[in-house]
Point group: C2
Chain length 214, copies 2
Amino acid sequence: MDAIPIMTLKRLPQYLEAIYKFKRAGLKMVSATKIAVFTDVHMTQVRKDLAYTGVVGTPKVGHKIDELISAIEQCLNWNDASSCFLVGVGHLGKALMGYSELSRKGLRIIAAFDVNPELAGTELHEIPIYNVDKLSNLLNRLHIHIGIITTPADAAQEVADLLVANGVIAIWNFTPAKLNLPEEVIVENIDMSSSLAVLSRRVAEKLYHPITRN
Amino acid sequence: MDAIPIMTLKRLPQYLEAIYKFKRAGLKMVSATKIAVFTDVHMTQVRKDLAYTGVVGTPKVGHKIDELISAIEQCLNWNDASSCFLVGVGHLGKALMGYSELSRKGLRIIAAFDVNPELAGTELHEIPIYNVDKLSNLLNRLHIHIGIITTPADAAQEVADLLVANGVIAIWNFTPAKLNLPEEVIVENIDMSSSLAVLSRRVAEKLYHPITRN
């Protein structure tokens, strides 16, 4: 399996959404040009990106939609949802547990963990919640390779270390903490608090003292 | 209200989380050093960042915790939750509507909009859902300045244009679409699909053909 450039990986889900749309509209074939128009990516780039999926199109006609969909899904590992654990069943953790789209996109949360003893033994959206002291044991028993961290920021490093020590090779970090981990561990960060902080402040600056901006 | 550097804005929520923790532990005073230890940011940086909040600490003693909390919250506009509209009541939109933490962090979703006629007139987590054809009218009537977009990517630009045309000055964009908007509009992007795509693929590369990576 060859490494695909990170920017290509980031565009593929966009192409897929456009292609699903064409399929729902009844089309059987789709061209890079059509995808380009819908996604606002240049068609030369779309062609390059699609080449990584290994499907070969017919000049002037394009790609068979079903072939293209399954090639892209396979590239993104979506047709083989990976099991993962989520640690930190707070507001954000609960929202992610209820976000069923994740499993369609390759990630199935099969268990969640929290330090709160009142949550242990319960379940949410059919996902069981355990006390965090069961984490090491279950990681090893179930050979889990992916962890989602939705704890408070100051617990994130400790949780990440525990995950990695027990076989996790990839972490989806939803806390603002910058994780310090061995280089080979794959980390993707989504920092909603920081993004919201920037947004709120910029709005306040603009609304209350528009002159200091611009 | 002076402009605060974007990196400072991104760190302040982290400091707040640490300070809340100290408060819960019963402390009345907190130093930049203590915050630095908990957030893994250098104490010189913490001091610089806190200076933007306008609070003045006592040398060797630090800051009164309650004063510092309210100064940072005010900086982040958290003590004055801004009303906003959410457009696109799909999986992610629903998750955000249920994410009550948002309103504690300055953003209150007061209505949601969707093209699906079956959703119009219903509500979710006490937030009413309207047909998207009511969007312009309600934006104007309620003087809403912030919009959250959780539609499919190919609808995002159209929705953003509509929001901006009706008074919105800041957009929190959860789609992978790159929005093309007047420069003065504040846009923050959270692209979960792309982040997940990168994560899944990297895991697949590593698990199935570890030699091609490294």
